[in-house]
């Protein structure tokens, strides 16, 4: 009897594993962030190419890396962030893109081409990009905001929110001091962290996922916020302003990339190309509310989207941005300092 039970369990597991092979249609397996696409656009793609799209989600780049390193689970298209693209290239986990299948690549704006984390776009194409800036509530913040220094203003004590991200926060302090946001110089990093320690008493919270709610509900008055999130906050709370500080800031992107062992590489490339059609692009970015890197899609966007200054940053603002690059072995130093900042201990 007990062996029958075991047999049944084994059969169920086998059934689960083989259950996916039922459909005869070709399947594109996407592994990305939650809510990263307009689902209607995905349905359009399924219809037009007579294929099926399977969409799995991860919560952070490290989960993605672990899965891809462990063999990829049959994913055809993944969306790593900038620094993760660099790490995956270094570990030989990505397949080079065949640009013959992606002629619409030319629609991408020049600022998003040839990024430092993937020179020549050999392995990746920018999908969703933004810049870290300062969002502030004009009801409480009366001074003009144009510098990272403004976060240190004692008038906002206890009302400052910082991104819950090691590289963003230390990178911000490095930028404030006029250095690269990816400095590997121990002296520069130490000085930046000491500067941040003087900001700690002003900090209400560190937050990335729920920073939008905290700003909409006016718990925080001033915060480091991603441009797309700032646009989202401003829609719910019209008192919100947003600036890219004069010292410059960090630009980030989630990208299209294809794992080395993908089973449907060509279909993945067709999907990227489809997403870069001006009309599809407009529909998609309109829905997810982030900056559209497509130069030809503006006519298809709503007037409201085109007028949004937090989504459509100026060339001058973009010229002050810098990508984060991999810091190699200094990751230990950054992590130690981050632990000090997050625990308030030395």
């Amino acid at each position: 009897m007990k062996w029958a039970g075991l047999l049944l369990a084994v059969m169920m597991v086998v059934g689960l594993l083989s259950g996916c092979g039922g459909s005869s249609k070709e399947t594109l397996n996407i592994y990305s962030w939650a809510d990263n696409f307009d689902m209607d656009v995905i349905k359009d793609f399924e219809k037009q190419y007579n294929v099926k799209v399977k969409y799995d989600v991860f919560a952070n780049n490290e989960d993605l890396l672990a899965k891809i390193k462990a063999g990829g689970n049959g994913y055809d298209l993944i969306q790593p962030s900038d620094y993760m693209v660099e790490m995956m290239i270094k570990q030989d986990l990505l397949a080079p893109l065949d640009m013959n299948n992606i002629p619409n690549f030319e629609n991408i704006a020049d600022v998003y081409k040839n990024p430092t984390f993937d020179p020549g776009n050999k392995y990746s194409i920018v999908y969703m990009s933004g810049v870290t800036g300062i969002a502030y509530n004009k009801k409480y913040v009366k001074d003009e905001i144009d510098s990272w220094e403004d976060l240190w203003n004692p008038a906002y004590k206890g009302k400052v929110i910082l991104l819950d991200d090691n590289r963003e926060v230390i990178g911000m302090a490095l930028k404030k001091a006029g250095h690269s946001n990816s400095s590997k110089d121990e002296g520069e990093i130490t000085a930046a962290v000491n500067d941040l320690k003087t900001l700690l008493p002003s900090v209400l919270a560190f937050d990335t996922d729920n920073i939008k709610q905290k700003m909409i509900q006016e718990e925080g008055w001033i915060a480091t916020v991603w441009s797309g999130d700032a646009s989202f906050i401003a829609k719910d709370n019209p008192d919100i302003g947003f600036v890219i500080p004069k010292e410059g800031s960090t630009i980030f992107a989630d990208n299209y990339a294809i794992p080395k062992n993908a089973n449907h590489k060509e279909l993945a490339e067709k999907f990227i190309n489809f997403m870069l059609e001006p009309e599809v692009s407009a529909k998609n970015y309109e829905s997810i509310g982030y900056s559209d890197p497509n130069t030809k899609s503006a006519p298809f966007h709503s007037a409201e989207y085109n007028a949004d200054k937090m989504i459509n940053l100026t060339d001058e603002e973009m010229s002050r941005t810098e990508w984060l690059s991999d810091i190699g072995s200094q990751v230990s130093l950054y992590d130690r300092f981050w632990t000090e900042l997050k625990s308030g201990r030395e």
């Binding site: 007990k2 490290e62 270094k90 900090v203 509900q217 006016e218 981050w338 000090e340 625990s343």
Partner: protein
């Protein structure tokens, strides 16, 4: 006899595959090295354990233990009277009491924690009420403080304390209390000498559940504490993700398990010696 041993085989297999093996891997990795990209490198060393004795990490661990002990103590103080009340109520009320304790479990833990955010934030329910009643002028900053973390922990883990104590009270031999009262013991005296010693297995179980769960909790500190009072479990999590340092994360986990076992053993001993004293006193 042989037959029952054989039928236990799947259980042992299960425990080996999904408990022992992963734990052995964690212990193994804690003695390894890693490269710049975060890959574990098979080179035996004790660096990860040495790093733990840095005052920074020792301090964070101390904070974690203090918070966990405090949470356990408050849970015990709140839960014992509650469990006592439920256990001594009418059968109908007992059922109701237990249902009330268990109902929150039907709702996702994250949602319950976010509910506290809605209550405590500056424009939240509590502040709005206090301002409307004219008790305060400016909203109080209750959220994103250590107090909010403690509140969240106690709220989350009180049921883990109530249920085992309730079971112990329920199974207690009530005749002893009648005998004590017949012999002239005051209610307080019979509680102290009969009820408390008889329910200490429940207290023990509850305390261990609450203590271990609190030390391992990192969501409450993030949501209610504003992610600015890192606990040891926050550090472990970050070592496995952003910091790309699995060996250090593993070493912290191993130390974590060992210190938890020591705390449980100490607590167990404290409880047993109390029991001995009671026996001698009889």
């Amino acid at each position: 006899m042989r037959k029952s041993n054989l039928s236990l085989l799947p259980v042992f297999l299960w425990l080996f595959l999904f408990l022992l093996l992963p734990m052995l891997m964690v212990v193994g990795i804690s003695f390894m090295d890693r490269d710049e990209l975060g890959n574990v490198v098979y080179h035996f060393n004790l660096d990860s354990y040495a790093t733990f004795f840095d005052p920074l990490y020792l301090g964070i661990y101390w904070d974690t233990i203090v918070l966990s002990v405090l949470t356990t103590a408050i849970c015990l103080l709140l839960s014992y009277p509650l469990a006592y009340y439920i256990a001594n109520a009418s059968p109908r009320m007992q059922t109701w009491g237990l249902v009330m304790i268990t109902i929150p479990f039907w709702i996702n833990f994250l949602i319950r924690t976010y509910a506290w955010v809605l209550l405590l934030r500056t424009q939240g329910v509590v502040n709005s009420l206090l301002i409307n009643w004219g008790l305060i002028q400016e909203p109080l900053q209750m959220l994103y403080t250590k107090g909010a973390v403690l509140l969240g922990m106690v709220y989350t883990f009180v049921p883990f304390m109530v249920l085992p104590i309730y079971v112990a009270l329920e199974q207690m031999d009530k005749k002893l209390l009648e005998a004590a009262s017949d012999l002239g013991a005051t209610p307080w005296r019979s509680f102290w000498h009969i009820t408390l010693p008889q329910t200490k297995s429940g207290i023990m179980t509850g305390a261990v559940l609450v203590y271990v769960s609190t030390t391992g909790m990192f969501v409450v500190t993030d949501i209610l504490g504003g992610a600015k009072s890192a606990m040891i479990s926050n550090i472990i999590q970050s070592q496995f993700l952003g910091a790309r340092n699995w060996p250090f994360g593993s070493a912290l986990s191993v130390i974590f398990v060992i210190t938890s076992l020591i705390m449980i053993a100490l607590f167990n001993r404290a409880m047993t010696s109390r029991h001995l004293k009671v026996k001698e006193g009889r």
